[in-house]
């Protein structure tokens, strides 16, 4: 027997955009006629196009998945990452047989259980115990299996006191814990997990990750794990597949794929440009573009915190004015300003010289400054003490994934153990300059 657990062969999935109800009966009839009477392949499959959220589709049909080919080995923990709309969930839905592929074939060995959403089929009126049996059997367990695992499940979820209380009286956290506990004790040969870790408190998330590791390492089960949480992916997975526009963009070890994902996935983002007509500003100065670059000069919106973030401004000066001040604010997720910076903050010798016509200046936000999070940039142009020229809302966002520090204590500084927007490492010393 080969050690392949799941095999995807040319799997594609097509969706029809827009409303399903109206105007489709004719398509249905036409499709039926061509396929079943004339015996030709589905005509509407041909005009589908690649799923790309950024460009509005011109076709009514779209490929959510396009020719997916890969294999998953037994006992492997495979991470699947990609932007929203890249096809991750569709892939899992097909794998868990909620929907079927349009073309292609998936073959698998062993029982597949999915955690597309935990607590599926919970009935609010039924007690925790009844729901364990209900949910367990929906997931494909038999009654005897559930009975033998009941204590473990209850213990894992931490709900023994509420076992005979209707689930509608549970807190949402308890419901999720119970749901996950059932799923975690399913013992399928293949476990499919989609973003469940987004819910529950930190302690529970830890427990959940531990359980997934346990399942894969000690019991040799195969796990497919879809998440936006790169930290979790790095910790858990032995291999990562990157999906982009419904296709496999990369398939390699986690560090490699995640680095590439953060670097190239968002190449197109991380900049905003205007043309002469739409440019912000007035008759003195017009803002043409803001670009975010890393050390490698690629424009992007995802950064690791050990890289500088270069904010480059391009603008056109139509009337030179000595009072002209160019700068921007950085805001955090709560819309509060973290810092404001102007081109003439420093010593006049170090100011970039502004000239009539086209200007391109840049400001480097130092490496190691930001904590993980999403940040926003809003340009601030003014005539000093006279008037605002550009004083806009945030126009551009970027994300930082924390990845700096050499301390053995904090080599995993993360948003969860380090509050605040800045995670800058500051010098500490024994203060011996006493008076």
């Amino acid at each position: 027997m080969s050690d392949i657990a799941i095999k995807f062969e040319n799997v594609s999935k097509q969706y029809r955009l827009g409303s399903i109800g109206t105007g489709t009966l004719s398509h249905d009839l036409n499709r039926w006629w061509i396929m079943n009477v004339q015996g030709k392949p589905d005509p509407y499959l041909k005009i589908g196009q690649v799923n790309d959220r950024e460009n509005k589709s011109t076709s009514e049909y779209v490929w959510a998945l396009n020719d997916i080919n890969f294999e998953v080995k037994q006992g492997e923990v495979l991470g699947i990452i990609g932007k929203n709309g890249a096809g991750k969930s569709t892939l899992l839905k097909i794998l868990s047989r909620v929907t079927t592929p349009s073309t292609g074939k998936i073959t698998a060995k062993g029982r597949i259980a999915s955690l597309l959403e935990v607590g599926t089929g919970f009935h609010p009126e039924m007690t925790g115990r009844e729901n364990i049996f209900m949910n367990g059997s929906i997931m494909g367990m038999t009654k005897t299996e559930i009975k033998s695992k009941l204590d473990e499940i209850v213990d894992f979820a931490g709900v023994e006191k509420y076992l005979d209380t209707p689930v509608k009286r549970y807190s949402s956290g308890m419901t999720v814990r119970l749901g996950f506990a059932i799923a975690a004790h399913l013992e399928p040969e293949i476990l499919v997990v989609d973003e469940v870790l987004a819910v529950g408190d930190a302690e529970f998330q830890k427990k959940a990750i531990g359980r997934m590791q346990h399942v894969s390492q000690t019991q040799g089960r195969t796990v497919l794990f879809v998440s936006h949480n790169m930290q979790a992916i790095t910790n858990l997975c032995s291999r990562v597949v990157l999906l982009n526009r419904g296709g496999v963009a990369m398939d390699s070890d986690p560090v490699n794929v995640i680095r590439n994902y953060l670097m190239f996935e968002s190449l197109k983002e991380g900049s905003i440009t205007w043309n002469e007509e739409t440019a912000l500003g007035d008759s003195i100065i017009k803002l043409l573009s803001i670009k975010l670059q890393g050390e490698d000069n690629f424009v992007r919106s995802h950064f690791f915190s050990n890289s500088i973030i270069r904010v480059q401004l391009e603008f056109m000066i139509e009337k030179l004015d000595d009072d002209l001040v160019v700068g921007f604010d950085i805001l955090d997720e709560n819309n509060s300003i973290i810092l404001r910076t102007y081109h003439n903050d420093g010593h006049p010798e170090n100011w970039p010289k502004l000239k009539l016509g086209f200007n391109k200046i840049a400001c480097d936000l130092p490496a190691g400054f930001f904590n993980s999070g999403t940040y926003y940039i809003s340009p601030k142009f003014s005539l000093h003490f006279k008037k605002w020229i550009i004083n806009s809302d945030p126009l551009l966002s970027f994300e930082v994934e924390i990845n700096h520090g050499v301390s053995p204590f904090w080599n995993r500084i993360s948003k969860s153990n380090r509050p605040g927007s800045s995670a800058m490492i500051l010098p500490w010393k024994v203060n011996d300059n006493e008076e």
Partner: protein, 286 residues
């Protein structure tokens, strides 16, 4: 690495075979079937005062109303059968059929949340609905027996005979027809929802084409022209056989019962095919 096809436990492909009924898989999920039945019954009377008594209230009141309207005002004869028995038997049987049909006809729509997340043979759900409905029907049948015993004790002559033993067959036909029509409608309403409105309405009218409130003999007397319509109705034989067996009135023929039975089997077969077809991809259209 030679992968012979039988090495795989699971093969996911765009289209399954048309005539693969998946019944084996349904059997594999029999524990789930049991849970669904339990759920239907348990949640039915949670937070109600009268609880299971509701199973009795509905047929009693309907019978009383029928006695006034059809028996009293309209003066439709009941073949000499005491009115409460006549109406009660019709109501029990008819309600089981119509409940099964209407409740299963929403299967995909009502369960899309669950169906969208986990795979199990979807047929489990409508089957469980039909079976939990059966329990309700049997409870109502006890009521019927009660009334029956009352009339016998009062000295009314009621000619029960061996044909009453066909009761399980009648139940099977009712359940099968309700389920089959229900899953067909359910499969069709995932895409075109209009059908749902039509069904509630059609079932209501259907009752008048079935000898529920009138004996077949009366219909034969008044509207001989339309008898073929009543005869073609697979439910006619069920109600007539029941009344013939338990109450000694009405008509019985092996031919019409056989027709109903065959009709049920064929419809179940077609329904399962359609249902299985839709269950594979309904998430994309619901």
């Amino acid at each position: 690495m030679a992968n012979s096809s039988n090495e795989w436990d699971l093969i996911i492909e765009p289209r399954g075979s048309l005539f693969k009924l998946n019944l084996k898989e349904v059997w594999k999920y029999k524990d789930l079937l049991e849970m669904y039945i339990k759920r239907d019954i348990v949640t039915f009377y949670k937070q109600t005062i009268l609880g299971p008594l509701w199973f009795f209230i509905q047929p009693i009141f309907t019978t009383v109303v029928f006695m006034f309207v059809f028996g009293g005002l309209a003066g439709i004869p009941t073949d000499g059968i005491p009115q409460p028995l006549f109406y009660l038997s019709g109501i029990c049987l008819w309600n089981y059929f119509s409940d099964s049909l209407i409740k299963t006809s929403d299967t995909f729509y009502l369960n899309q949340a669950v169906f969208g997340k986990v795979y199990f043979p979807r047929l489990v759900v409508p089957i469980s609905v039909t079976i939990s409905g059966l329990l309700k029907m049997l409870i109502q049948f006890i009521l019927f027996i009660g009334v029956y015993v009352y009339f016998v004790a009062k000295g009314t002559h009621i000619g029960i005979n061996y044909y009453a033993l066909l009761f399980p067959v009648l139940i099977f036909i009712l359940a099968g027809l309700g389920l089959a029509f229900g899953i067909i409608v359910s499969s069709m309403t995932t895409k075109y929802r209009d059908l749902k409105f039509l069904v509630a309405f059609a079932v209501q009218l259907w009752m008048y084409f079935t000898p529920v409130i009138y004996p077949l003999s009366v219909m034969e007397g008044s509207y001989k022209k339309y008898m073929w319509l009543i005869q073609a109705n697979p439910l006619t034989a069920v109600l007539e056989t029941f009344k013939y067996g338990f109450l000694g009135k009405g008509s019985f023929s092996w031919f019409s019962l056989g027709y109903s039975f065959a009709f049920t089997i064929i419809l179940l077969f077609i329904g399962t095919i359609i249902f299985n077809r839709v269950e594979r991809s309904f998430m994309d259209v619901v």
